[in-house]
Symmetry: C2
Subunit: 197 residues, 2 copies
């Protein structure tokens, strides 16, 4: 029913995550209401982002330089690597301003159900970083999902024999949460992870 170029635009938006048909139509009309200059600018930003952003050769985080800001910083403690699933997890950790080590982005988790094994994520690249003996500890900060836990166990089994400490981030009740609303698995984890006070 829509004229061809509009239908194509709507379809493109519909293919994006979390965008249904009605949102796609609204976004397409929004684009048509913009000035030609604004649309050209947006197209340019899309292409620039896609073309200039790639994975850091060391930590695999997204960067627009060869080696990312964190990997090339002399202020970061290179004896610790925090392993995360995705680039946005690096940002979440950095927001704490607590962690001073380096990162390694796996770009996924091991998930046999989805056909994703260790070879499909950046495990090889992590192992390559451990060969020169500067790394003393690997903190596995994958999500506390089944896949995140399985990936953590896999990495521990692989890396511990190299004489490197492998730790897992704590799991339990989020700060500020009521026990009442916590699910059972979280409570079991919170109990297992109890500490002396």
């Amino acid at each position: 029913m829509y004229i061809a170029p509009l239908a194509q635009l709507i379809e493109s938006f519909e293919r994006m995550p979390g965008i249904g048909h009605k949102s796609a139509v609204r976004l397409a009309f929004h684009v048509l209401n913009q000035s030609e200059e604004a649309v050209e600018n947006f197209a340019d930003i899309l292409l620039t982002a896609k073309k200039s952003i790639h994975c850091c050769q060391i930590c695999q985080d997204l960067t627009n330089t060869e080696i990312c800001r964190l990997c090339s910083s002399p202020e970061r403690d290179s004896s610790t690597i925090c392993v995360v699933e995705a680039p946005k997890d690096v940002l979440a950790m950095e927001k704490t301003h607590e962690y001073k080590g380096l990162y390694h982005v796996l770009h996924g988790v091991i998930s046999p159900m989805d056909g994703i094994g260790a070879d499909e994520i950046k495990v090889k690249e992590l192992l390559a970083r451990l060969s020169d003996n500067t790394v003393r500890e690997i903190i596995v900060a994958t999500g506390s999902t089944v896949e995140g836990e399985a990936t953590a166990l896999y990495l521990a089994r692989l890396i511990k024999p190299m004489g490197i400490r492998v730790t897992r981030i704590g799991s339990g009740l989020p700060v500020g949460a009521d026990l009442e609303y916590a699910d059972e698995v979280t409570l079991i984890r919170a109990l297992e992870g109890r500490r002396e006070i």
Copy 2:
């Protein structure tokens, strides 16, 4: 915190209607996960849509031809014009397969609160279509909002003296709706619009 080209991309998405920060971040990462070819294709679709789509010289609906499909169709009844607020309203009317006349898209409604008068919407273009005496009826199908009603009244006052019939689409209970859940204003309209059965 994000590297510059990514931050720019996120900002661009955030400026779109109904897209909050988290959605914008998700969309930006979705773009980065696409192949360079797919992103180029999307940029192309954006530009093509923006550059090829403009208003029909007659009805002001969006089109990629000089005169739109409906205005140039010999099968449409040129004695009736249905006046709507926006291009998507034409599509909504066309879906009924009941209306066989032409359209006129106002691209807005008169709204003094937002500083939108008759000159800011396509009223002048509508009047220009009435000069050759082919039009016998104008059906005002603007929304049943305060602005939609005000625009309908304004058009009626302007066009009736030209000897052209001006009608307003019916207002009342939507088909399939329960009285229980209808608001009072809708019920008042439904009562006013009652017909002999």
